[in-house]
């Protein structure tokens, strides 16, 4: 399997000198899903955003399909990478159809082409185009907005999909539905997905590989089963904290 994304000794420091990425080296295989876990401030989102140069690394390099992102035209690079965030970031003044087709519009595709593609994508993410195409984001539920966000990210047929806590703001039931949809999509579309999440269950359900970051460094880089069985103190601490969080939530519910 070929490497789709490679982080080569990647560093990022803020202007104030705070080191957020500290020499990260990873190679992500094409068609796989990698979950990036870690506490807040561990550098997960920063790492994700170096791929589409929303954050410019201060040292090292990121290669997408073997080519340095620095040597790729910024607009072309970003159009070739799907991007999904927690708040969906839908354009409130555009209909669902126009939101989904905006990248194609920016690339100069015809209206007929855009409509056809956005309808196909809405079906792919489980939304009926005849019902949802003409709706505005404020007329959608949180889950529907995220589905549209995923459809939009897929519009330009990207090989790489970056997802930054995409389902973090959804209720547990909707989140589970979205995770199921994503798993199905990933199996069908064979995209290289980088998923930043706080949710270990989500990572285990969706990812082929789990990377644990701490203070900008890779602490563990394991398959989900190996991650769960790892005796590494940092992984154990993460698992313990996660189980305690789930336990507390269950206790709170039953109380």
């Amino acid at each position: 399997m070929s490497t789709a994304i490679e982080f080569r000794n990647l560093f990022f420091a803020t202007r104030q000198g705070r080191l957020l990425l500290d020499g990260i080296s990873l190679a992500l295989e094409a068609g796989t899903t990698t979950a990036i876990l870690g506490r807040s401030g561990s550098g997960k989102t920063t790492l994700l955003r170096t791929v589409n140069r929303m954050v410019e690394a201060t040292g090292g390099d990121v290669l997408v399909s073997g080519k340095s992102v620095r040597d790729t035209d910024l607009i072309a690079l970003r159009r070739g990478i799907g991007y999904v965030i927690q708040e969906s970031g839908l354009f409130p003044h555009f209909t669902v159809e126009r939101n989904v087709g905006l990248v194609l519009e920016a690339e100069g595709h015809s209206r007929a082409e855009r409509v056809q593609r956005s309808h196909a994508l809405l079906e792919t993410v489980g939304l009926d185009p005849t019902t949802f195409s003409s709706r505005y984001p404020h007329q959608l539920s949180g889950g529907q907005r995220q589905r549209v966000g995923v459809a939009r990210a897929l519009a330009a047929e990207p090989k790489v999909l970056l997802m930054d806590e995409p389902f973090g703001a959804l209720d547990p039931l909707t989140r589970a539905e979205m995770q199921e949809m994503m798993r199905d999509l990933m199996a069908r579309m064979q995209k290289t997905v980088v998923l930043v999440t706080h949710d270990l269950d989500e990572a285990l359900y969706l990812a082929d590989r789990i990377v644990l970051l701490s203070s900008g460094k890779v602490i563990a880089d394991l398959a989900p089963e190996a991650f769960m069985q790892s005796t590494m103190p940092e992984v154990q601490a993460y698992l313990h904290a996660f189980r305690r969080g789930v336990g507390n939530a269950a206790h709170g519910r039953s109380a």
Partner: protein, 210 residues
């Protein structure tokens, strides 16, 4: 106001109303043509926002009669009173449009702008497809405030011979004839109310539900 007064002065009132409207509309067009691009530029160079908006603020504090007086001796401008009026009204209209353009764009949800950049929209595409449409109702609020203010200030332009409804007011004051004062003041107030209502409708139409 008697019907004979209106019969005698109706045509004058109408032509002065049209002149008043023309002066204000021309000034609004110039002000929008200056303030919207400058407001957009300030969102790209926020370090300049305070001094530039401060300058527009200072322009607004100059008493209108003094502003017309300052412009009167200037070459080319001073040749025609209407030019002076339009330049002065433009200066007064800058602040609300500039401030609202800047605030409207800066107030867009950062997540929306983040996605616009991440999905590969160029700077021009972001401006015309995302920023200006989302800030449009704010910009129009600024234009509405400026228009209502300038319709009032334009009455002073008659002091330098620029015409408009102020001419009737000045003539009425000079001849102690309240009918003439009202013949200028009532249409001016009516114009302000109509402009406010019409622009208010556009503002509501352009407001994006979130």
């Amino acid at each position: 106001m008697s019907s004979s007064f209106l019969q005698q002065n109706g045509a004058t009132i109408l032509s002065l109303t049209i002149e008043h409207l023309w002066l204000t509309a021309a000034a609004m067009l110039f002000a929008a043509a200056i303030a919207v691009p400058v407001g957009v530029w300030l969102t790209r160079s926020p370090a300049w926002a305070r001094p530039v908006i401060g300058l527009a603020n200072i322009l607004q504090t100059i008493p209108s009669l003094a502003m017309f007086g300052f412009l009167l001796p200037l070459p080319w401008l001073g040749d025609r009173a209407a030019r002076i009026a339009i330049v002065a009204l433009t200066a007064y209209a800058l602040l609300p449009i500039l401030r609202n353009t800047y605030a409207g764009i800066r107030g867009i949800d950062p997540a929306v702008m983040d996605v616009a950049r991440a999905m590969g929209l160029t700077g021009t595409q972001r401006l015309f497809k995302v920023e200006l449409p989302l800030a449009a109702s704010f910009i129009l609020t600024g234009l509405r405030t400026a228009t209502v203010t300038c319709i009032g200030i334009a009455t002073i332009a008659a002091a330098v011979g620029a015409g408009g409804l102020g001419e009737l007011i000045f003539r009425g004051v000079a001849s102690v004839d309240n009918r003439l004062v009202l013949a200028g003041a009532i249409p001016a107030a009516g114009l302000a109310l109509v402009a406010d209502a019409v622009l208010g409708i556009f503002e509501r139409l352009l407001t994006v539900k979130r």
